[in-house]
């Protein structure tokens, strides 16, 4: 639609489209109005009144996020009256808020704190009775601290409208209102799939990741532990932002150096086991196609998604690939192949992984992920936690010279690296499946239809004699829609990649906070650039993968693979 309206803002005329909200028009004109409950791409609720502006001829201030523009409207966005109203909103929120900033994980990165600062709140004008709340740390992934909740509702909406989970909601009313799971129980028994998207949208410290920094720091100083680390494909293209660098800067080399200076004995690249996952998963797909196995097959590398199927679609579990995720595959071969090779007792190895994801913390604790009682992976840190420990130790990424990952798992292909973004697993898998089925490489490695940030991407790809229907979804509400179609009989799709977080791991629940879609797009471009510029672009041409099969695993889907790299999932009881 065209810009067909003129509105006057603070004495200047700007253009607007009919049907859009005042806030949208203001933002396009780069006029800053603070918001709290507003969420891009979701319908406004107008609940918090942080975004109020003054409209000439209207008696009351109006919430700009929920109010449509009209031709000739005269708006004041920062009149004394508006500022007073916004300040009062913040002061009322603070009246029931702990004075905890110094100890808070969101200190200096908190929207409430920023608003209080920018509106010049310097004294406590309202003192109310503060509600008492217990911290819920029952979940392996997410900590809820309702005392810091300002009831903006963003987490509730993301959980329902983006993830299709609805593990949390508003309960009770008035001054007793709490956002939390059903029956006031712990998140661990709720339907929460641990994705952390609620953490990403929470303006305060009310939601945060369950941190395992202490465990990792303790392991690092324990002389009896051999501490190794792996880092996921999406971490090297986001960590930079924690240190003020431009989104999309790849710091793989300096991050590796930084991990070594933290004291990790070996630094492995999870993208390598992403290649391994492709070998197993593509073989599984080909096997299912040739032997009339269950189709469509779903990928299984995203642990939030796996829990989602266990809870909501247990009848579809047979469609989920039996492959463990790259994190768990790496963990498994570290404590078997690597331990053997180096003559280290597996029980002495403390295996850490740096992930863009909070659900990975849950995944590594699953009983399926233990081998003789020893977990494949001992502790998972998010990108944010890695940044925290680097700052704590005064390690400057920029001051380090880049280093390479450790062999024997050294080299990855670019296909493995693509796992970091939605569509990447599919592209990587198709490259290899094509080779497995036809004996030839694809003409063009890049499959344009599967790229970009779209939530549902469907395509039909020619693989030799076959035409494969493939789908890529991210954000589980999109997965839900596709699952329902398939349950209802949709037959033209054979292989489906699901990533829990919208956009994939580059926008995972463990990534830097307070970023936007543009940053996510730059991260994606960084991965595509790596794929464009490096020579080894398929998992099956990765020589190190070949060597791993030759020396240790045998063949894809072979006996050893089954024992170490595959698992199966079962129906899960949860409050849904």
């Amino acid at each position: 639609m065209t810009m067909n309206l003129n509105i006057e803002v603070n004495g200047k005329t700007i253009q607007a489209k009919s049907g859009e909200t005042v806030l949208t028009a203001l933002r396009r004109a780069a006029i800053q109005v603070p918001t709290l409950c507003y969420m891009e791409d979701l319908l406004p609720t107008g609940a918090c009144r942080m975004c109020v502006v003054e409209v000439e001829g209207q008696r009351n201030l109006i919430p700009s996020c929920a109010y449509p523009v009209a031709d000739g409207m005269k708006i004041k966005t920062h009149s004394p009256r508006v500022i007073r109203a916004r300040k009062t909103v913040v002061e009322l929120l603070l009246a029931n808020h702990p004075d905890d900033c110094l100890y808070c994980v969101r200190n200096r990165n908190c929207e409430l704190q920023k608003l209080a600062e920018s509106l010049g709140v310097r004294e406590r004008r309202y003192t109310g009775e503060k509600s008492e709340h217990k911290i819920d740390s029952s979940s392996p992934s997410i900590v809820r601290d309702p005392a810091k909740c300002i009831l903006c509702g963003r987490c509730v909406r993301v959980c329902e409208e983006v993830q299709g989970v609805s593990a949390i909601d508003f309960t009770k009313r008035g001054s007793k209102t709490v956002v939390g799971p059903a029956f006031n129980e712990g998140l661990n028994v709720s339907s929460c799939i641990n994705c952390g998207q609620c953490v990403m949208v929470c303006p305060t410290g009310a939601l945060r990741e369950q941190s395992y920094l202490k465990e990792v720091i303790n392991a690092l100083k324990d002389p009896n532990k051999y501490v190794v680390v792996q880092h996921a494909p999406a971490v090297s293209v986001t960590l930079a932002e924690e240190f003020g660098l431009k989104p999309g800067t790849d710091v793989c080399g300096t991050m590796t150096a930084a991990l070594r200076s933290l004291g990790f004995k070996r630094v492995f690249d999870t993208s390598f086991t992403a290649d391994l996952t492709i070998m197993e998963e593509a073989s599984e797909l080909v096997h299912r196609i040739k032997n009339g196995g269950k189709l469509p097959m779903f990928t299984s590398c995203s642990p939030g998604w796996v829990k989602f199927v266990e809870e909501f679609y247990p009848d579809m579990l047979e469609h989920v690939s039996s492959c463990k995720s790259p994190q768990q595959m790496m963990g498994a071969i570290i404590k078997s192949y690597f331990a053997q090779k180096e003559g280290i007792e597996p029980g002495k190895i403390f295996s850490v992984s740096i992930m863009p994801c909070t659900a990975k913390k849950f995944e590594c604790q699953r009983p399926e992920m233990l081998d003789n009682g020893i977990p494949d992976v001992d502790a998972v840190l998010t990108t944010r936690e890695l940044a925290r420990i680097l700052r704590m130790r005064g390690i400057e990424l920029g001051a380090l010279a880049p280093e390479g990952a450790d062999t024997p798992f050294g080299e990855r292909s670019t296909a493995g690296k693509l796992f970091g973004a939605t569509g990447g697993v599919m592209e990587a898998a198709l490259r290899t499946a094509h080779f497995m089925i036809t004996g030839q490489e694809m003409d063009s490695m890049k499959i344009q239809a599967l790229r970009g940030l779209g939530g549902t991407k469907i395509s039909h790809v020619k693989v030799g004699p076959l035409e494969l229907g493939v789908a890529v979804v991210s954000g589980l509400l999109n997965a839900r829609k596709l699952l329902d179609d398939i349950r209802a009989g949709r037959k033209d799709i054979h292989f489906i990649e699901v990533m829990t977080c919208p956009g994939g791991c580059i926008a995972g629940g463990g990534q830097p906070l307070g970023t936007n879609l543009d940053a996510v797009r730059s991260r994606m471009q960084a991965l595509y650039k790596i794929d464009r510029e490096e020579p080894v672009r398929t998992s099956h041409t990765n020589k190190w993968i070949e060597r791993l099969y030759k020396e240790f695993l045998g063949e894809p889907l072979g006996h050893k693979s089954h024992e170490l790299l595959h698992t199966h999932y079962a129906k899960r009881e949860a409050v849904i």
């Binding site: 009313r173 029956f183 849904i576």
Partner: protein, 159 residues
């Protein structure tokens, strides 16, 4: 004996194609029949309506009329209507809460007392009032409310 679950199933079967807007009436019927909304009941209603359990729990807890614990042997209703308020029902309620160590909507550990706050029982002339198993107690003060509850307790110990 008819179990609580059978009751719930019977109610749900009368709302076969019910949608979300039937949520509150269904919850009311379940509470009417079972005396409270058990965890089981909330889960069943949620499943029946295709709603997340958290949503149903959220809606149910929004309204004061729903309770999530079975009623006690003595069910105390404290009136918080306007007339009672003016005559000091807030202090009465506080005193009862302290005596029993429960919040409104809860039941004491021993299952003896449950506490409910109601809008107006229609006994404004007697304000402030409370009603215990249908028996009215009028013109209460913090102290008299406490004494009355202690009397019920004693009565129970004797019997």
């Amino acid at each position: 004996m008819v179990s609580m679950n059978d009751n719930i199933d019977a109610i749900l079967s009368q709302h076969r194609d019910a949608k979300r807007d039937s949520l509150i009436p269904i919850l009311q019927e379940v509470q009417e029949s079972c005396g409270f909304l058990s965890r089981e009941a909330v889960l069943k209603v949620a499943k029946h309506l295709g709603l997340p359990a958290g949503k149903v729990y959220g809606v149910a807890t929004f309204y004061n009329q729903f309770r999530f614990q079975p009623q006690g042997k003595f069910h105390i209703q404290v009136c918080r209507g306007t007339a009672c308020h003016v005559k000091g029902s807030a202090a009465v309620l506080e005193s009862i809460k302290r005596t029993l160590n429960v919040e409104a909507g809860q039941t004491t550990r021993d299952g003896l007392f449950s506490l409910e706050v109601v809008a107006c029982i229609g006994a404004c002339g007697l304000a402030p009032v409370m009603c215990v198993n249908g028996e009215f107690h009028a013109q209460l003060s913090s102290d008299s409310a406490k004494d009355i509850i202690n009397n019920y307790k004693k009565q129970e110990v004797k019997s």
